[in-house]
Amino acid sequence: MNLIRYLLDNINRIGENQPLIGKFKPIYKALDDFFYGTDKVTSLPHVLDHLDIKRYMSLVILGLLPATIASIYFWGWRALLIIIVSYVFGGAVEVIFAITRKKDIHEGFLVTGLIFPLILPPSIPLWMVAVGIVFGILFGKEVFGGTGRNIFNPALVGRIFLSIAFPRAMSAYWQKPFIGGLGGFVHYQNVDALTKATADALTYATPLNLFRSGGELPSYYNLLMGFSAGCIGETFRIGLIAGGLFLILTRIVNWRIPLSFLASVLIFSFIGNHFMPSRFAPPIFQLLSGGLLLGAFFMATDPVTCPFTRAGKWIGGVILGFLVILIRSFSGYVEGVMFAIVLLNVFTPLIDRIVLDIKYPKVVK
């Protein structure tokens, strides 16, 4: 503790005299902020809430933790390596921008850097992870001016970039998860499954692929526990539900979007399934397949990019549910959550504008 203080103070002192080291001020400033609370005092109001952005972001990571640990169990230690690559390259972009802009490093990338690998297929090459996160943070966030000003969810920008640039790697192979015993905790990667997958892709298809091709669907229990193919972090659904409810309980995530999103997915798929059972999957299956739960609890609720008005959150959730069912049932893509969320991000300013105009009619012209 004292050693860290000593080191930070020394670096700070050297930085003041040496312009070269001084350039890296955002880095050691961020470390300083990370390890120690602030010494600033309030003006008015005289007291402030104890919650700060660091804790806010770490709570989101805590909510993702069950799914992250489960991902190592299902996909082997390579999953952790993917997360590390994502953090290293994502963090590097953040740091470079902070240095060139001479601004503080913001904590937002801690969440982006974890969500991004969780929505990738487990067999993705590591260099692609790096390309994706760099693209996502650069064009999803930094070009708009950094945290708080971005229009799109940076993790989804990276993911969509990858699925358009490398469609084969992103949707052709799906690994079979390790199940039973210590699972992936004693393996690096399920190589066996990978070689087989090229020969017989359908065997390890995701549940949504199976529905599209008319295969036998996994049971709801298997879907909940994660015994199915899919992206790294989306399959352990019971953990996602627990994490999401935890975040709603702690008020980190606003409950309105997940509730309206999931409810409208149920309603729209129920209606669709009633009339066209071959096109629309049944409601509960929709809920438990693909990235719906991960998207509803952790990505659609990103406060920066979702509507901020209360009514806008309800409307946004319904739009999301509608889009997800539409894309899953009619488009060439089997999965629609990420496109739905990015489409909602586009409409967010419009929704908020309309809600504000209705809520606050003109007092003065």
């Binding site: 402030l48 919650l51 708080g148 980190i252």
Partner: protein, 499 residues
């Protein structure tokens, strides 16, 4: 069963360390008092005395029947030693210093108190005015004298409230220590006598419901008397929130509740009314709560007005703590920097919390047994056994807004602080701000309190209002057209004191 009334938003401060203990401590009669000639609202009074005069406690030393004000009394027996002008809370104001002889007697307003029920309305009003009690409350008690901006017969509603919505509260049992609920009821009757057209609402927090137990008969007897329960969430004590919840009326934000014919008084003020009329006691002392964790023993003291703060604070602060003193309200109150200033009749709490400049190691991962947060990210939200603590640390670095919407969720008046703040920060000052109801802000400070990005939202909104007024889009243009029942609005009425 009284009706429960509440407003949307707000925040409940519960279980904080530093609640005053339930004992009233009689403070000794000070040897020296300083009496400012502006106290609370109203304009400065004409001084009736000069240096060297002998004065007695209860003697009127300043009055002005032309402007809106109530007389001010000497609060101890002694000799006027000094009259000088100082800067008192941003106002240039004369302050009278009296050196006392230590005796505790005071002179009653009228030597022979008649049975109060036989007093005529004019007599009651005069007594109330001469006692100085008519200066209490958010906008004073109207009388035939200029003690409030409206006349007694224009008053439509009187709200008498007692709630536990602030972080620190005086318990009602304590206020009634040498009085009874019957006295409160008599006070209410007196008020209704002066203002016969008014409906009186007694509004208390549900936790205090048993204090009015003895009053059931009287409550049911009068159809001008109504009873309401308040939710204990901050800022219920603000006049705007009281009007909206109790009366279900729109409030002209930024103006006084008197301008829509509503007089708001707390229990203590009503007991002062009783004292003035029945016991002929001038307003020379007040019961003040010393709360907050920096006091050695948070308590309640009965002090003479004009007692110098330092006399009270002296030796009551915990050792080794640098305290910050705050007047009346933890979120909106003024910081008391100069302890040579006296206590005046607008005081009800002196809060002392420790200044915390310590940089705590790995602060953001602490469990937080004693930390308060709007979010439920600290364990204290689930463990009511631990008392939470206030300090003045900012608890985080300032960061860009992430639109987490906490500020909108807690805002009691239904505006969205974070968009207003973004407009003001980018210097986009135009009618948009007025259309987003920037003038509705009552500056309760909750949005700044809950913000995880530590953005000073209240300051931004305040700046925005000032800049907007400079541009000509004033409060009058935005608020007043929506009210046809505004009674009298005097710009200088509030003086320099913000609401």
């Amino acid at each position: 069963m009284p009706k429960h009334v509440a407003f949307r938003g707000g925040y409940r401060f519960t279980n904080f360390q530093g609640q005053p203990e339930n004992i009233i401590e009689e403070f000794f009669v000070p040897n020296i008092v300083r009496i400012p000639l502006i106290q609370g609202f109203g304009s400065e009074l004409d001084c009736l005395i000069k240096v060297g005069d002998r004065v007695f406690a209860g003697q009127i030393i300043a009055r002005n029947d032309q402007n809106i004000s109530s007389p001010i009394h000497a609060t101890i027996n002694g000799i006027v030693s000094d009259i000088r002008r100082i800067n008192y809370f941003g106002q240039n104001c004369a302050i009278v210093t009296i050196k006392g002889d230590g005796s505790s007697e005071y002179k009653k307003i009228q030597e022979k108190p008649a049975n109060w029920q036989e007093l005529s309305i004019e007599d009651i009003e005069e007594k109330l005015y001469l006692s100085g009690v008519s200066a209490l409350g958010y906008s004073g008690i109207p009388s035939q004298f200029n003690s409030s901006i409206i006349k007694p017969n224009e008053v439509k509603n009187i709200i008498v409230y007692m709630s536990d919505s602030d972080p620190f509260n005086i318990s009602p049992e304590l206020l009634f220590s040498d009085k009874s609920v019957q006295n409160l009821y008599d006070g209410v009757i007196i008020l209704h006598k002066i203002m016969p057209n008014a409906t009186v609402y007694i509004a208390t927090s549900r936790n205090y419901r048993n204090i009015l137990d003895g009053l059931d008969d009287q409550l049911n007897k009068n159809d001008w008397l109504k009873y309401r329960y308040l939710r204990s969430k901050y800022p219920q004590n603000h006049e705007a929130m009281l009007v909206q919840t109790v009366l279900k009326q729109k409030f002209p934000y930024g103006y006084s509740s008197a301008s829509i014919g509503t007089i708001i008084l707390d229990f203590q003020s009503v007991l002062h009314v009783y004292e003035a009329i029945v016991e002929s006691k001038p307003l020379i002392e007040r019961t003040i709560a010393l709360c907050g964790s920096a006091w050695q023993k948070p308590s309640i003291v009965k002090v003479r007005l004009g007692t110098i703060l330092d006399d009270i604070v002296h030796s009551r602060i915990k050792d080794g703590i640098k305290p910050r003193f705050i007047l009346n309200n933890l979120l909106m109150g003024t910081e008391l920097k100069d302890l040579s200033l006296p206590i005046d009749r607008s005081y009800s709490q002196i809060i002392a919390i420790p200044e915390d400049t310590e940089r705590e190691f790995l602060k953001f991962v602490r469990l937080g047994f004693r930390r308060d947060s709007y979010s439920r990210t600290f364990i204290s939200n689930f463990l009511p056994l631990f008392q939470k603590e206030f300090d003045t640390n900012k608890h985080g670095e300032e960061r860009p807004c992430i639109s987490c919407n906490y500020c909108e969720e807690v805002c009691p008046v239904g505006i969205i602080p974070h968009i207003l703040s973004k407009y003001v920060k980018r210097s986009i000052i135009d009618e948009t701000l007025a259309n987003l109801h920037i003038y509705d802000c009552i500056q309760c400070g909750l949005c700044s309190y809950v913000c995880p990005s530590k953005i000073p939202l209240v300051q931004h909104i305040k700046e925005g209002m000032e800049m907007l007024t400079e541009q000509g889009c004033t409060r009058d243009k935005c608020i007043l057209p929506h009210f046809d029942n505004i009674l009298g609005i005097v710009d200088s009425y509030r003086g320099a004191k913000e609401i």
